[in-house]
Structures are given as structure tokens and as C-alpha cells.
């Protein structure tokens, strides 16, 4: 089973990863990706909005696709919604697998698809002003790799 969560308040990535690792002692390798609000890029705050009827179900679908494509012992997907400050975690993906390559590919794929296809809308506060972020070309290039 995969652990897929959409959270509207903060989480502790180290504690989550530690619990995930402890739950999969049979896995030889665990790859994780942690995305956090960058500090020092002039961004004062980040807000992610989601749409309840779509966002979590689509994340769960993505997890199912990942599980179908790679042989994993476990998959963790945690994504924040709401307002976050610099250095706060946004997203944590972890894949536990017998084989290292599977864990890397699964985490990489999950992140590319979370970034480009998940139902989140982002705005940033810079200079006291909120501004909606448009999709990045890089996200489409990332997803085209698969």
C-alpha cells in the first residue's frame, strides 16, 4: 500500500522519512525527494491551493501508476496545501525498493508528474504582493522524458 497525503498544515520530513524507513526494513534502498520553499530568493511566502474533489484522488492515481511501473516495497507521497514560509517543506516523496534503480526512477517520475500534472495552483508573495505562478516550460520537458 502507498501512503498518500494532502496536508493543510506543516509536517516534519525527517520524522516522516524515519517512520517510512522503519516500516520497510526489507527494502535495500530508499530514495526521497524533499521540496521546500527556497530561502533568499525574494519570496516571502508561498501559497498552494488545491481542489478537494480532484487533488488527492489524482495523487492517489499517480501513486497507483508508479506502483504498477516499478517494483517497490513502499511509496510515500506527502504534499502541502496552504500558505508556507521559506524553508518550510512543500512536498516529500519517498520510494523504498529492493533495487536502487527502481527507487530512483519511481521517485523521479512521481515528482515530475506531481509538478506538472497535479491539481495545485501556486502563488508567491514578493515585495508584499501575491502573484500567481504560471506553469513552467521545464515541467513539460521533465514529463516528456517518461
Amino acid at each position: 500500500m502507498s501512503d498518500v497525503r494532502l496536508l493543510t498544515s506543516g509536517f516534519d520530513p525527517a520524522a516522516e522519512l524515519s517512520a517510512f524507513t522503519a516500516a520497510h526494513p526489507q527494502a535495500g534502498g530508499i530514495v526521497s525527494f524533499l521540496g521546500q520553499v527556497r530561502e533568499g530568493a525574494g519570496c516571502e511566502a508561498l501559497e498552494l491551493r488545491h481542489y478537494d474533489p480532484l487533488t488527492l484522488p489524482a495523487m492517489q492515481d499517480l501513486a497507483t501508476r508508479v506502483r504498477g511501473r516499478w517494483a517497490l516495497d513502499g511509496l510515500l507521497v506527502i504534499h502541502r496545501s496552504g500558505v508556507m514560509l521559506p524553508a518550510e517543506p512543500i512536498v516529500l516523496v519517498a520510494a523504498a525498493a529492493r533495487h536502487r534503480r527502481d527507487a530512483f526512477a519511481a521517485a523521479d517520475f512521481a515528482m515530475d508528474h506531481l509538478k506538472s500534472e497535479s491539481w495545485f495552483w501556486k502563488r508567491e508573495k514578493t515585495g508584499g504582493q501575491w502573484r500567481w505562478i504560471e506553469p513552467r516550460e521545464q515541467d513539460f520537458e521533465d514529463i516528456a522524458r517518461w
Binding site: 480532484l54 497535479s118 495545485f120 495552483w121 504560471e134
Partner: protein, 84 residues
């Protein structure tokens, strides 16, 4: 009798609200006319454009032009996502 329209992402800014109530039954053309009457032309143009998808009661719809809203429906306007 009413249905709900939900504006996601920057559509919320264009509409000045994250959601409104509309009388039903309401077809797509009448819906656009309603938005044109009460909101900015920018909002109408954007929701009618190819980049904005719609979900009816949580299910994505392939042809938004065919939508007819009934009592209790929720129609969400989804601009391109901007990732996590």
C-alpha cells in the same frame, strides 16, 4: 434551485471570489453570458479558452460546451496547474 461555480488559481483573482451561486438549469452559453454580465471580460475569455479545464461534481469534462448545470451541481474552472 442553484448550482455552484468554483474558480481556482488566478481565476479567483479575475472573479474576485473563489465561488458563486447560479440559478439552474443553466447551459454553457447562458453561463458565459451570466459571467459577462457580472464579472470582467477577462474572466469570460479565460474560462472559455482551451487552457481552462472544467470539472463537474469532481469529474473532468472533455467538452465543456455541452455542460448543463442542474440543482446542487458544482462546476469548477481549472486553469493550468503550476506545480508543487
Amino acid at each position: 434551485m442553484s448550482a455552484k461555480l468554483v474558480f481556482l488559481g488566478r481565476l479567483e483573482e479575475l472573479a474576485g471570489t473563489d465561488g458563486i451561486s447560479v440559478d439552474v438549469p443553466l447551459g454553457w452559453a447562458a453561463l458565459l453570458a451570466h459571467l459577462e454580465e457580472h464579472y470582467t471580460p477577462d474572466l469570460v475569455e479565460t474560462v472559455a479558452g482551451v487552457r481552462v479545464k472544467v470539472a463537474l461534481n469532481g469529474a473532468l469534462i472533455a467538452e465543456k460546451g455541452g455542460v448543463v448545470l442542474a440543482e446542487g451541481d458544482e462546476l469548477a474552472f481549472l486553469p493550468p496547474v503550476s506545480g508543487g
